[in-house]
Symmetry: C2
DNA sequence: GTCATTATTGACCGTGCGGTCCACAATAGT
DNA sequence: ACTATTGTGGACCGCACGGTCAATAATGAC
């Protein structure tokens, strides 16, 4: 009954996400977004509202993707303890080859906007709460499997792992060599997850 | 022979630093800087060049202050192991009462500008290299004092502690409660610095 | 084919930005 | 007191930004 959309909304969100991830919120102009999306300005505004709303949707899109991946890793890895170690290793590989270390979009956004935009802050808070629970579940599994001492507080340890991971993500942006980064992630994993599996 | 400055350069740098810390680089306008410094636009440009240069000086100012404080804590604390624990505790107290958790200016700046401004990135890299060395020295001291096992790699452990600290700094910005934050810092300290001193 | 409806485009707008400049103020030397 | 020199403040500039809008294109219903 009317002219159909010529673009896929998710595709645009992905493109916007990449752009915001590369440059940050403030440093991304509508021109940039037009370029990476291939859309005219009017189409973007008609479809998403304004820059901030597009950003928020792209950010939510990113978070969902991240959580999906987290869930997959945590549940698909045979030994739970290995999954936990992977959490600390993952940021090291991210973009190691391409040389561009842009960290985590949510972390970047929280740093840039967390003080000024309550919605971004709330998104960050909720995300890390969920992450903590997912990780804690995995810790319980590791305890059941005997990979971790049973007495330790799963939520507390989950928070420590998450915090360490965020530390690694950040340090990866500071020009640390991949080798140093790898060693650090390993060191943190060894300290936080005492029993580890082989070489 | 000429009209003297009516302001103290360091004072302006401190004011600018606070402003950039509160709002970030892009979200700070020259108007903001005029307001917090009490200076006219012309004076700022005459004294500091442009916005970016003022920012870089404010950032360097911040870094120097931070390192001074780090040095002081690391050397003035009687037992080195306690100093190391303090590194992880410090971010928790920072701004806990006022409620504003603005993290670390250098970290914020690196997240916002690290990809786009090589100078900021270089500053971050150099800073963390220095921090790592300072912490490593303190670790050696802790080993000499018997507070830490002597066999562990000081630099590696220093990097792990620094990374964990940055993780805590970041998590403090995500709306975590002070209690959870405190528990996390304690947990990380306990895992990274096995031997600790009393209740 | 006609029409109603929605998508698309790009010209256009007002605003706030970083940055410049100039008239004026304040000092030190003589 | 006069002058040279530098600091100060704010008016001013051009620009790029986010955002709007109207003309046009593409579809489905009938």
């Amino acid at each position: 009954m009317a002219r159909p959309r010529a673009f896929d909304e998710t595709q645009i969100l992905n493109a916007a996400q990449e752009q915001f991830w590369d440059a940050g919120y403030a440093a991304t102009s509508m021109e940039d977004l037009m370029q990476v999306s291939g859309l005219g300005k009017g189409s973007i505004y008609a479809a998403f509202g304004d820059k901030r709303q597009l950003f928020l949707r792209a950010l939510r899109n990113y978070i969902e993707g991240n959580h999906e991946q987290l869930r997959r890793v945590l549940s698909d890895t045979p030994r739970a303890i290995d999954a936990l170690r992977m959490l600390l290793d993952a940021p090291v590989d991210e973009g190691a080859d391409s040389g561009v270390r842009r960290g985590c979009l949510l972390a970047n956004s929280t740093c840039e906007l967390g003080n000024a935009d309550p919605e971004v802050l709330a998104l960050a808070h909720a995300t890390y709460e969920t992450s903590t629970e997912l990780i804690a579940d995995c810790i319980s599994r590791a305890q059941d499997e005997g990979g971790l001492p049973a007495q330790s507080d799963a939520i507390g340890l989950a928070r420590a792992i998450l915090t360490a991971q965020q530390g690694i993500v950040y340090m990866s942006r500071t020009g640390m060599t991949t080798a140093a980064l790898k060693a650090t992630s390993r060191s943190l994993a060894d300290h936080l997850l005492p029993a580890h599996s082989g070489a």
